[in-house]
């Protein structure tokens, strides 16, 4: 059995100055959802199956593969071409699908949603391109009793869960709410020395993607969409933002904070809790 795990080097803006002189600092790191997927793969393999780390990114993304090697991966592949800079989720999925086909894995694992762009689209697109069964937002994988298929547990909002039976080969996307990635001691860096990263270009994989499908027009400071059904006139900036984001204006301290004997205070609390819980469902 061979497990292929797709990892991503995420990029996060740590600081942006929007007025001249414009400046921004970004931080690159191994996307934790990808590492969660790797953790699931390593546990499922349990030393008996090969785990391959696969990433799409520039040479710097090999740091993510080094991290994977520290966690126990023995083979790593990186694919990159200049045209992939700023590529949309489908372009990345095409490259991953082609590489996964070449690696011929029995199970392909991806993070469900990266922490930087979070499109939640790559895994499903890869499954579609490879024409394989897919289960998304997985928090647990085990072998079925027959040994050939897998039982995967899927996490849905509000504590809802589903268990699916999937034949291999298959694709799963991993929700980071499951087990945490194993601890890596700094001394384990020596494991990365043995790792020879195979580098490939999209053309070598036979990926022929045509014209770009999306174009970025502008990057600006974030602002939430103004809600239509709320009144914001006459509110302070802080309250306006709170209301536009779907919250509510904060009452004054006199209204909000009560000093009363315990029974009275408990009644107020109960009324507030009941109102909030009823509004929620």
């Amino acid at each position: 059995m061979r497990l292929v795990v797709c990892l991503k080097q995420a990029e996060e803006a740590v600081f942006v100055r929007w007025s001249p002189p414009f400046a921004s600092f970004t931080r690159r790191y191994a996307d934790p959802t990808g590492l969660a997927a790797l953790e699931h793969a390593l546990r499922l393999a349990a030393g008996a199956a090969q785990v391959v780390a696969l990433t799409v990114g520039p040479p710097d993304a090999e740091r993510v593969l080094a991290k994977a090697a520290m966690m126990g991966v023995e083979r790593a592949v990186r694919v990159w071409g200049e045209r992939l800079a700023g590529a949309d989720s489908l372009a990345v999925a095409m490259v991953l699908a082609a590489a996964a086909r070449r690696l011929d894995g029995d199970l392909l694992l991806l993070g469900a949603r990266s922490s930087d762009t979070g499109t939640e689209a790559v895994g499903a697109a890869v499954a579609e391109l490879l024409d394989l069964p897919l289960v998304t937002r997985v928090v647990g994988i085990e072998r079925d009793a027959d040994g050939a298929r897998l039982l995967v547990h899927r996490k849905l909002p509000r504590g809802e869960r589903e268990t699916h039976r999937v034949p291999c080969p298959a694709v799963v996307t991993i929700d980071p709410g499951g087990d945490e990635p194993r601890y890596c001691a700094p001394g384990w860096m020596r494991r990365t020395r043995r790792l020879a990263v195979e580098t490939l270009r999209p053309e070598e994989l036979g990926v022929a993607d045509g014209e770009p499908r999306l174009v970025v027009l502008e990057v600006a400071p974030p602002r939430p969409r103004a809600k239509v059904g709320v009144q914001v006139a006459g509110l302070s900036l802080k309250d306006k933002l709170a209301v536009m984001r779907g919250g509510r204006k904060q009452d004054s301290a006199e209204e909000r904070i009560i000093e009363a004997p315990a029974p009275q205070a408990a009644r107020r609390l109960k009324a507030a809790l009941e109102r909030l819980l009823a509004a929620r469902s």
């Binding site: 937002r137 589903e162 999306l214 970025v216 990057v219 909000r256 009560i258 205070a265 009644r267 819980l277």
Partner: protein, 337 residues
């Protein structure tokens, strides 16, 4: 090569066992909003034949047509089957834009349809705007510190998922029931088999996932036996129990029950903080909480700055009273559910 204005904007109307999903009305309203931008027609697309009652529920949101993907009676289609059928119908009828609410299902179907049709997908859109003859969407990038305006190039249908925070069920006024257009669709076979559905009890739910959380602070270390009272209040509210770092370090709660920057980051609707003063590290972990209620002895505690309702008092007096007021069985109405 943008297409001319006009055309149809389709919103996928998610259903749960013959009923509309809570995002369906919002998705319908969004279709109308974007259709007005594009001077096109707002349409919905739904799996199966919608019942009259369901169409009436959707009437105020201004959809002109609803495409019903016909399917054989039986278990509801899997997401894979849905993507297959929707892609085939979209390829045939060529709408301008396909919208999905960014639910787990919506995200997956959108990605599947976009991959099948080889069309551009913009995920988690916050807003839309006209871009010449075409359309642009605004979405968060770089971990949320910026918004990028992205436009589709190439032929429609374009695909988008809309952030759940941005969606709003705006009513267009009392409208007529949408015209239903039955569409033949090949759903194909499902390759994954749903074995069972289950749910995690609220109190076992991970803190980052729980909708209601009760947090306990330092004072409990003086009276560890009273943790049972707090746990019972949490139980009766259908809430998960968490604690501040001091409580976890004190060994009263396991590490995964710690709320704050070095513990779990909550995404709860309601957080009841008992005996928690609200250090900055704790408050980082509760930043995303929608409604915060607090019980604390010290009126000057920072937690009261953020609290929607704050009680200045001793938690060992207030919580037993609250426990008595809440019905023992959450289903019996004590939690209002």
């Amino acid at each position: 090569m943008a297409a001319p204005t006009g055309g149809e904007v389709w919103s996928y109307l998610e259903t749960v066992e013959e009923d509309l999903h809570e995002t369906a009305a919002q998705a319908a309203a969004e279709a109308r909003r974007v259709a007005r931008l594009l001077e096109g027609r707002a349409c919905g697309v739904i799996a199966g034949t919608p019942q009259r009652r369901l169409l009436e529920d959707l009437a105020p949101f201004g959809l002109e047509r609803i495409f019903a993907l016909g399917r054989a009676p039986g278990p509801p289609p899997s997401v894979e089957q849905l993507g297959r059928a929707l892609a085939a119908v979209a390829a045939r009828r060529a709408p301008r834009l396909l919208l999905f609410a960014a639910t787990p299902l919506g995200c997956e179907v959108a990605a599947r349809v976009a991959a099948r049709l080889r069309r551009g997908l913009i995920s988690e859109c916050v807003d839309f705007a006209r871009d010449g003859d075409g359309l642009a969407a605004r979405r968060s990038v770089g971990g949320g510190r910026a918004h990028a305006t992205v436009a589709w190039c190439g032929a429609p249908p374009w695909v988008a998922t809309v952030s759940l925070d941005a969606l709003e069920a705006v009513r267009a006024g009392p409208g007529d029931v949408a015209e239903v257009v039955a569409e033949e669709a090949d759903f194909g076979a499902a390759r994954t088999e749903l074995v069972r559905r289950w749910r995690v009890e609220p109190r076992d739910l991970d803190l980052s996932e729980a909708r209601v959380v009760v947090g306990i602070g330092k004072p409990i270390l003086q009276r560890p036996a009273d943790l049972a009272i707090v746990a019972e209040v949490a139980e009766r509210l259908g809430a998960a129990l968490g604690g501040s770092r001091v409580v976890v370090d004190g060994g009263l709660l396991p590490r995964e029950r710690q709320v704050g920057a070095s513990g779990k980051w909550l995404a709860a609707d309601v957080y009841l903080a008992c005996g928690i003063s609200g250090s900055s590290y704790h408050m980082m972990g509760v930043k995303a909480v929608k409604h915060l209620l607090a019980v604390n002895l010290d009126r000057g505690a920072p937690i009261f700055q953020r609290a929607e309702l704050g009680v200045v008092g001793d938690l060992f007096e207030v919580l037993p009273e609250l426990r008595a007021l809440l019905a023992p069985d959450p289903a019996a109405g004590g939690s209002g559910r």
